[in-house]
């Protein structure tokens, strides 16, 4: 498919801007462009077709099953989009007078109240633009806390080896050294290793519960107690909140601050690069360090983003919470866990789970035996699934499982969809034994076969050639 720049024809552009009806202003010397920007010139028809073609080549959650583990690719109800499209929300300007923004302020304060209730936190900011930004903000709260007490020897953040890569990256961005905590044979935090790592230099622990293996850490109260005992704080990565929302609260588990992926857990289409919402909540004693919007909250304060963050993502989250209600939110979490366990139970006929027992909202398969027997890798299986109209699961994550495939069916899939998916997985197990060569070459029917990932990574072409 051609790039939009390749479709450009000089002079074909469409003029949309009305004639200028205010006096023209010249930029100061040296700040203007020397040459006009190189924008593609196309008719409206060309542009419309180009983006429709792109859209047809995309596989989204509205196309079919999308069990991409760790990503919670659930269906986003249309009503949430409708609410976010209301002109009272889309037409507002953040600098509008306070009296004109009462509705938006009501949305922010109601959403904050409900999400604080769900997480067991005392206060919350909606400024961070997405998950990693939320983590960064949350860990800065921990840093501020220690700094304000003059406790500057705390230079280490503990991160389990099963963590999302953003956790150590966040800690490093905040200037901390990272201490990797190994998982025990049950896939959860090794308490002895945790104890050994804790000390006067511990600033805090970053943890997601359920963890990236889809396991709820039963020792969570002991873990947070140990960290607090050493003088550190506990940060909850809200990436997996979908499994416990309305059922168990990070605040009650002993966490001091959290981030939520509003876009992921609370119904904004995600995975396409934004906009997202990385709300950060904290307990009462950290409240003073939360970012403040000079405009929204008055007074001075550090901002991590302008105004109240991606406001329409908060509108969608609130609409989602209000439509599900106090009964629906935990039910969604329960169905997410039920669906994952159902699919796991069906796949266990052939596949080996990385960890025994019940899972939460997602689970990890270990395909190293299959690879040894047939040569078919997790990658080959994932690629073959594309031919069956399914989005592949997450591959090779978490890193502590070899040949990992990580499935998260989410609560919005029916039993029929799960059964169909299970049939495909079981069929491909047989195919791997019968015709591994076919699977090494898969997908056979997709628009794009196997992109050359290695060449793309080693020699990326990031600019439109002149």
């Amino acid at each position: 498919m051609q790039l939009i720049f390749e479709k450009s024809v000089p002079g074909r552009g469409t003029e949309y801007l009305p004639a200028c009806d205010v006096p023209e202003v010249s930029l100061p010397e040296g700040l203007g462009r020397k040459a006009p920007p190189k924008l593609p010139e196309l008719s409206e028809t060309d542009v419309s077709r180009h983006y429709t073609q792109l859209c047809q080549r995309v596989y989204g959650v509205n196309c079919g099953f999308y069990p991409l583990g760790s990503c919670t690719m659930k269906y986003n109800p249309r009503i949430d989009e409708e609410m976010a499209a209301l002109p009272g929300f889309t037409g507002i300007h953040p600098l509008a007078p306070e009296a004109a923004t009462q509705g938006c302020r009501e949305v922010l304060s109601t959403a904050k109240k409900l999400l604080c209730e769900i997480t067991g936190m005392a206060d919350m900011t909606f400024q961070p633009a997405a998950g990693a930004h939320g983590e960064f903000t949350g860990v800065l709260l921990i840093k501020q806390y220690h700094d304000a007490r003059g406790d500057r020897k705390r230079c280490k953040i503990l991160v389990p080896d099963s963590a999302h890569g953003t956790n150590p990256a966040t800690a490093a961005m905040c200037g901390y050294q990272i201490v990797n905590i190994p998982s025990g044979p049950d896939g959860c935090v090794d308490l002895e290793a945790l104890k050994a790592a804790l000390g006067e230099d511990t600033a805090g622990l970053m943890l997601t519960n359920p963890n990236t293996l889809g396991l709820f850490d039963r020792n969570i109260l002991e873990i947070t107690r140990l960290v607090h005992g050493a003088g550190g704080l506990c940060y909850y990565d809200g990436a997996n909140l979908n499994a416990v929302m309305g059922l168990a609260r990070p605040g009650d588990m002993g966490f001091d601050c959290v981030h939520l992926n509003l876009h992921k857990t609370f119904a904004t289409p995600h995975g396409g690069g934004g906009p997202g919402g990385g709300a950060v909540g904290c307990k009462e004693f950290l409240k003073a360090y939360l970012p403040k919007s000079r405009l929204m909250d008055g007074g001075d304060g550090i901002q991590v983003r302008s105004f109240a963050g991606n406001f329409l993502v908060v509108v969608k989250a609130l609409a989602y919470l209000l439509t599900l209600g106090k009964e629906g939110v935990p039910q969604a979490a329960e169905n997410a866990v039920l669906n994952a366990n159902y699919l796991l139970a069906r796949l266990k006929e052939r596949y080996t789970p990385a960890y025994e027992g019940l899972c939460m909202h997602e689970f990890v398969l270990d395909l190293s035996e299959l690879k040894k027997e047939t040569g078919v890798s997790a990658l080959d299986l994932a690629k073959t699934l594309i031919d069956y109209g399914m989005h592949p699961p997450t591959m090779y994550f978490p890193l502590i499982v070899h040949e990992a495939l990580m499935l998260e069916p989410t609560e919005t899939e029916s039993k029929q969809t799960l059964d169909q998916a299970a049939e495909v997985f079981l069929k491909l197990w047989d195919l791997a034994h019968e015709d591994p060569a076919y699977m090494h070459e898969a997908p056979h029917h997709a628009q794009i076969r196997r992109p050359d990932e290695v060449r793309a990574a080693r020699n990326p072409i990031l600019c439109q050639p002149e």
Binding site: S368, Y396, L399, H402, A457, R458
Partner: protein
């Protein structure tokens, strides 16, 4: 899988070759196979101190980014900067494509010989 006998190995799959004055460090054949195609190597600089058991850089493959763990404590005296333009040499010749050379070695991890390391890798699966 290749486990040459004149190298010593870490549990995190680096190798070390004692070259008299300097210790030479790279990654094992098992490591490059598990990583898959290496696309980027993040190297330390000459003069940097490395600490046994701690990261001195990382390798990125199409699967993941993995830390390089130093088997020794000492000072980096040479860096194989050719890897910046040809990271694939770690896949093609893992025992030839050394990563760093360390001098003034004061501490060393418990290392395995080739036979023990092979058993360790086979157990890891």
């Amino acid at each position: 899988m290749n486990y040459p006998v004149d190298y010593k190995y870490t549990r995190s799959h680096e190798w070390l070759r004692d070259d008299g004055d300097v210790a030479i460090v790279g990654i094992s054949d098992y490591a490059q196979d598990a990583l898959g195609d290496v696309v980027f190597v993040n190297l330390p600089a000459v003069g940097d101190t490395v600490i046994a058991g701690e990261s001195f850089g990382d390798v990125e493959s199409v699967k993941a980014v993995s830390d390089l763990i130093s088997p020794v404590t000492g000072v980096v005296c040479q860096v194989n900067t050719a890897l910046e333009d040809a990271p694939e040499s770690l896949n093609e010749d893992p025992y030839g494509a050394w990563i760093i050379q360390v001098e003034d070695v004061t501490d060393c991890e418990d290392l395995m010989n080739a036979e023990d390391y092979q058993a360790f890798c086979e157990q890891e699966g």
